[in-house]
Symmetry: D2
Subunit: 160 residues, 4 copies
Amino acid sequence: MPKILIVCHSKSGNTAAMAEAVATGVKNAGVEVILKKVQETNVDDFLGPEGIIIGSPTYFAATTAEIKRLIDDSIKHYKNLEGKVGAAFASAGGIGGGGETAILDILRAFLVHGMIVPGFVTGGHYGPLSIGAPDDERKQVCMEFGSKVAEIVKKLHPAG
Amino acid sequence: MPKILIVCHSKSGNTAAMAEAVATGVKNAGVEVILKKVQETNVDDFLGPEGIIIGSPTYFAATTAEIKRLIDDSIKHYKNLEGKVGAAFASAGGIGGGGETAILDILRAFLVHGMIVPGFVTGGHYGPLSIGAPDDERKQVCMEFGSKVAEIVKKLHPAG
Amino acid sequence: MPKILIVCHSKSGNTAAMAEAVATGVKNAGVEVILKKVQETNVDDFLGPEGIIIGSPTYFAATTAEIKRLIDDSIKHYKNLEGKVGAAFASAGGIGGGGETAILDILRAFLVHGMIVPGFVTGGHYGPLSIGAPDDERKQVCMEFGSKVAEIVKKLHPAG
Amino acid sequence: MPKILIVCHSKSGNTAAMAEAVATGVKNAGVEVILKKVQETNVDDFLGPEGIIIGSPTYFAATTAEIKRLIDDSIKHYKNLEGKVGAAFASAGGIGGGGETAILDILRAFLVHGMIVPGFVTGGHYGPLSIGAPDDERKQVCMEFGSKVAEIVKKLHPAG
């Protein structure tokens, strides 16, 4: 059975609430979830799962330095993550507050790893974005996103 | 007296409504405004004003092809726009719908022209973004943005 | 047998030379290639193939308006390209001349289409970039890129 | 007399060599330079100078986590850096290796601070990029970039 690691950095709880909804969506699609806070995540955790989803609050229109630290450390496994599926989501303080570019920061890191990055025709093209705390509509978007990523992981890595 | 050209592409009217509010803000700060639709804009219009503001709806998380056409044609005046002030705004269909990257597309073109691009501590870091039609709060954001850009133009080009 | 459409815009011939090398790489990996100039490309051409690769020269640190026009027109088939593989390459006039952001422009459009975008651990993370005319090393990079994209298309769409 | 702070992160020495050339250019234009390594930089150093230039090696097509840490910490002085001039440069491991997006990462942070970001018609539109160690041509580009930024700082902040 394939697995997806969700790494989440949350200071206000908004990104964590999105992560929970994403995790539910992944599970609903029949894929195992490992949900970790960035502080508890070791880059070795990237090796096992077939998909990696990272969620970040938006700091200076980008991911937090903590997420960037994890990404830099993942150089340890460079070329070993190739072909895994990568996706991202973010919370931001306002409309036009840089949340889209924060998501793209993470996707760009996945591309450097030679990973496979899907886009989305509904609910945020690059991945889900919530302005402040996610309401029910945003949680639904996160859930559908999780399911969608899981379906792609199953297609690309059916045996896990 | 310095002048600012506002070029706007609007299919639904949302970006045009934003452009009107931006124009009001520019005028309130004592700077002359020339407001044009992209269809009526010739790249020669870029030469006179000390500031250029471009507004676009979001198509495929980017500006419209019409805006890109205008930008490409502006190669005619390459190096002659250096030092002018450039700013941008966009409307988009949804949160995470690519509006931020549409704004950045325009700012990047201004940077290639050697123009001066200011950021904003309120109301959208890269420039104003409206999800759908701008409500009163978004119009206020657009107005303050117009005034802010006008103040920078006055500082950099006091004599016009 | 799966197919890949390569659409290329070339004014100086540099991007066309890259496209030829990419096409060779795709064929070497056993995937059929349709190579078209942007002027000859109709968005209906996007429907058949399982992978779409777009190459552009760099105009204002972005794709050309012609490529953006094609992308905007592809709205006709919105949601029908979901799951196809998308990749991009570019030529640029100089180092730091905006070629990377031109490639990313195309990848962002593919993400909006819900397409699957792979990254690369060798030869340009977002896709191949040539400064001026591609030399033998750059052609090799393009060829390997074409093969890599073809392998991903075969994995995702084995039956074509 | 106006001042420019240059903050540089260098692991291989390539970015430091660029920083030296940028510093020379700033001095040649008659502006005082403070050149610091990221490890020695405190965000309070951002308050005094009228211009801030940040240089980074490219890690995962972005700045290093150390540079992002400094940027995140600069929230301490949010709204107090408004109107200062910001510019950036980077070294990268290869053509298409993410150096342009690393430079843009820094510029985006400056925009969030409400700073003024100039573009460049020669030598790298977003700022100088060196593939590996800067050769004499790249050092010249860095020097001209430093002088250009200094001229803009003098124009915007003549009294320092």
